[in-house]
Symmetry: C2
Subunit: 349 residues, 2 copies
Amino acid sequence: VPSLQDVAALAGVSSATASRVLSGSLHPVAARTRQKVLDATKALDFEPNMLARGLARNRTQTVAVLVHDIMDEYFSEIARGVEDEAYRHGFVALTCNTDRDADRELYYLRKLRAMQIDAILFTAGGLRDRTHRRDVNRQLAQIEAAGGVIVRLAPHAGGKPDIAYSNRRGLALAVDHLVGLGHRTIGFLAGSRRITTSAERLASMRLALASHGLELAKTTIFDGDFSRAGGEQAAAKFVDSDCPATAMVSANDQAAIGFVRGLRARHVVVPDDVSVVGFDDIAPCAYVEPPLTTVHVPLYELGVHGMRLAFDLLAGKPRPKPHEFPVELAIRSTTAPPPHRQHTRGGRS
Amino acid sequence: VPSLQDVAALAGVSSATASRVLSGSLHPVAARTRQKVLDATKALDFEPNMLARGLARNRTQTVAVLVHDIMDEYFSEIARGVEDEAYRHGFVALTCNTDRDADRELYYLRKLRAMQIDAILFTAGGLRDRTHRRDVNRQLAQIEAAGGVIVRLAPHAGGKPDIAYSNRRGLALAVDHLVGLGHRTIGFLAGSRRITTSAERLASMRLALASHGLELAKTTIFDGDFSRAGGEQAAAKFVDSDCPATAMVSANDQAAIGFVRGLRARHVVVPDDVSVVGFDDIAPCAYVEPPLTTVHVPLYELGVHGMRLAFDLLAGKPRPKPHEFPVELAIRSTTAPPPHRQHTRGGRS
DNA sequence: ATGAAAGCGCTAACAT
DNA sequence: ATGTTAGCGCTTTCAT
């Protein structure tokens, strides 16, 4: 494996000169010399050793994106945005699945610190656990001390997001739509209690209902677990209960998709019997049947923007105040006016 | 940022000794000394610099998985398998989206070489382009020369896969099922011509039909492009054409899902009017309506197994002969007997 | 069992 | 404009 020394030798120059032409240094190099080095590089098919460079420069051109689970389309879309932007800058992105597991998250943070990663992007709301937060913050402090940059695409470990969207506004859109359709008792498919995003969306739901003089009755809250399976199970409970809700809004699309499926399995028809609205607008929403009405969040852009911010910070720019992306309602086919009161809800009995 | 020197100093030993206890060296160290080093490590919250370690050891504990697009559930499931296994071994995995783009693939290969990556896992069939293959192989040769290991989960750049499944058998299952149902003219939704997997599946389809004395008529082949959008467009063409097929098998699920959706949009009902079977069994198949009948491929296991193989190779074990996972048919709701001949296909006219 | 010292391959002062 | 050289932080002979 050729090294810079070999290139320099072949070009008949010192390794310093070779380094200058190959490392994008501003230091002047004569055109002829430069060419000789370039030729030697080509001839040897030389590729600089990034470990050595990183060690010398204290920069690795590597960033990490922390996700709960890359199989969740919410995260894969953000990750794709990050990666595309990283690619444009000659960086490389690694994806770490934390599985919402405190230990796994900490493991990665240590590992990334050891790797001298340039930036870490948090894509998901952190765990609501005091000691875990403390541990995370200790790691982050070390990473920042080493010149690393942290960007949050969601509230994490007590840190406010740098790039965000309004859950408040999103839920308001969802509820306004439903109320406009005539719904008066609207339920909620909550996410995991351990995640901050979950808590935020639940609170936002309450606010949205309140603005219409409505309340979120305890009996209309089901646990969707942010997952399809969770949503499906919730549907079973929903049908078996006597929940009076004529519409459900879900804390995220995955649960909503599972919920709709669970409902259909029990012959309650969406949206005629009950309306459902999701949150996030992940890609599958459009391909599910009926296509899911949901709050659109610009996931890909979130990733791109987050990566861009990290680059700015690495370039020494000051951290700008949080940027908030607008959300909008993607009205598809899972919402309709509520069934007439006198009728019992189809499929239930 | 504390270094090994600092730890050694605090422990009152030489950096060599400190290294020996922290790097998992076999070299003996007195229990008392060891403890002092450990204490110092804890006290300083020291984390070894992997760049320095990598430079000295020529190993980085980093692997890369090359995918077409992480947003495609086919790849995200494999990637998840890889990552889970990597995690168990204390490795870190980076995901590179090639977008089926030759330049982007080569860019990453160079980059990974520069990073002294330990292993590269190819998850997708390579491009069918002679010069690109040559370029890729040059990079791979260099990576292997540097001690890196290559694992193929699909045929790539002329290399046979190390871990695979049988497209031949998969398509045979699909066709057998359809023929068993009574279908006699079966069409194919082909993938992109530029990808080897695509070519393989098309050929396998022909073989499967031939085993029943059937042929794949030119007019029954549509271009699904391996994507949902492609499948949806194909549906439009299919409906507008006078394609006599009563069933379609798709080169992959994404296209099949799009195809079904496109069909429904034009009021042709699946499976009553036309049956559809996919390939891969990506997660969304079960959540789409109707749930897609498809050939199940153990994607997650493919990833886990691929990563495991890479570890074995890194440990110096010889490369075993290719492992083939079994595929099976996941019969869901997009297949049924063909409509009666005398009826015109619903929704067409 | 411990330490001294020579790298690993590159960059960045500091000469010239 | 080019070269010399001292690191970057760790591992690993080779001594002791």
